[in-house]
């Protein structure tokens, strides 16, 4: 398989397609992150006739809300890095004509 020019061409294109998939996922996840940013709730929404309980509910909500927003941002960044890693895999594959067992750290890092 490796070394066959047709196969090499197919794999290289597949790597670019797979990279584009992660790039699109990164864009989508960035959109999620932005949308999550609008999901604030006032303490009055957690009305319980008890201000302490209402505040505890808001704190619990805010904790998850901010964590989800942060994780969505980190996910978007990670997906972009996967896109770039697949481009590096593509470039390595092209440089070696699909034959070499190249250094993984050059693609994914340490």
């Amino acid at each position: 398989m490796a070394g066959n020019p047709d196969e090499t061409r197919v794999v290289k294109q597949a790597l670019l397609d797979e990279a584009a998939k992660w790039s699109a996922l990164s864009t989508d996840m960035t959109a999620v992150q932005h949308q999550v940013g609008d999901l604030a709730l006032q303490v009055t929404a957690f009305f319980t006739n008890n201000p302490i309980t209402a505040q505890a509910a808001k704190n619990a909500y805010d904790g998850v809300w901010h964590l989800v927003e942060k994780l969505a941002g980190e996910a978007a960044a990670e997906f972009k890095q996967i896109d770039e890693a697949l481009h590096r895999a593509h470039d390595e594959y092209e440089a070696t004509d699909g034959k070499a067992a190249y250094d993984l750290s050059r693609i994914y890092g340490s």
């Binding site: 397609d17 008890n50 994780l71 996967i82 890693a85």
Partner: protein
């Protein structure tokens, strides 16, 4: 793969319950206020009649009528005070309940903006584009090992969106139950006032009718406070699910798993 996006039925149900409970209690609040006004009018009419009777009865009649009239007046004032206090409490709860509707909006937001789109990402991330399986070697094997970790994190994020929506819906439903617990006592108070209206129309029956109504109102008020306490406890239980059990955050790590560290 993440669970399928919820259809929001539980959120719709909670929203419907919240709206229905608020409207039902607001309606009964109005009827109870009307019953109080009507009883006051009736008693005022009776006291006015008593004044006429007293003049017919001479000086002794005036003294008796004043004594009796004062007792009716005082009893009615006490009853009025008790009912007005309850009506003010209910009004406050209804007013404070209005922002609770934002829980419903937010529950749908978590479903639509997080759960649904992130669930869709899970399948995309897990499914290789065509011909990637023709790629082999250590880089491919590393890819095969690392992608599922990303998919799992995506599933966790999608699930958190769904759990948050469910929690908010449950909280809204608990608030609806809390608000609707006001209905029966309010209904009973209106009934007690209504029953007194008939007897309070006669001079003889007024004092006893007001006294009896006052006792019934007190029973209903006690029931209302008991219901409210149960309602608050239920709402607090739902809140504690999130606060203590970390229902949602338990599924998430503190940071996103790193597949690439270059």
């Amino acid at each position: 793969m993440a669970p399928p996006p919820g259809d929001g039925k539980n959120i719709n149900d909670a929203g419907t319950a919240l709206k229905a409970s608020s409207e039902k209690v607001a309606d009964q609040h109005r009827k109870t206020g009307d019953a109080l006004d009507k009883l006051i009018d009736t008693v005022n009419g009776t006291l006015s009649d008593l004044g006429k009777v007293s003049w017919l009865g001479g000086l002794g009649g005036i003294a008796v009528a004043h004594f009796y009239g004062d007792k009716v007046h005082d009893a009615m004032e006490r009853l009025k005070k008790a009912v007005v206090e309850v009506l003010a409490l209910v009004k406050k709860i209804l007013d404070e309940g209005i922002p609770v509707f934002s829980l419903i909006t937010r529950a749908f937001d978590w479903l639509d903006r997080v759960h649904a789109p992130v669930t869709a990402m899970s399948d995309t991330a897990a499914t290789y584009t065509i011909n990637v399986n023709n790629w082999d070697g250590p880089a491919k094997r590393a890819y095969d090992q690392r992608v599922p970790i990303q998919v799992k994190a995506i599933d966790g994020l999608a699930a958190a969106g769904g759990d948050m929506a469910s929690w908010l819906a449950e909280l809204a439903a608990a608030n609806a139950a809390y608000i609707v617990s006001l209905f029966k006592p309010l209904f009973d108070i209106a009934g007690a006032l209504g029953a007194a209206i008939v007897d309070a129309a006669t001079v003889i029956g007024a004092l006893e009718a007001i006294g009896k109504s006052g006792e019934l109102v007190q029973i209903a008020v006690n029931a209302m406070y008991e219901g409210l306490e149960n309602g608050v406890n239920h709402v607090t239980e739902v809140i504690n699910k999130m606060v203590d059990a970390k229902k949602v955050t338990g599924e998430l790590g503190d940071s996103w798993p790193q597949m690439v560290t270059v």
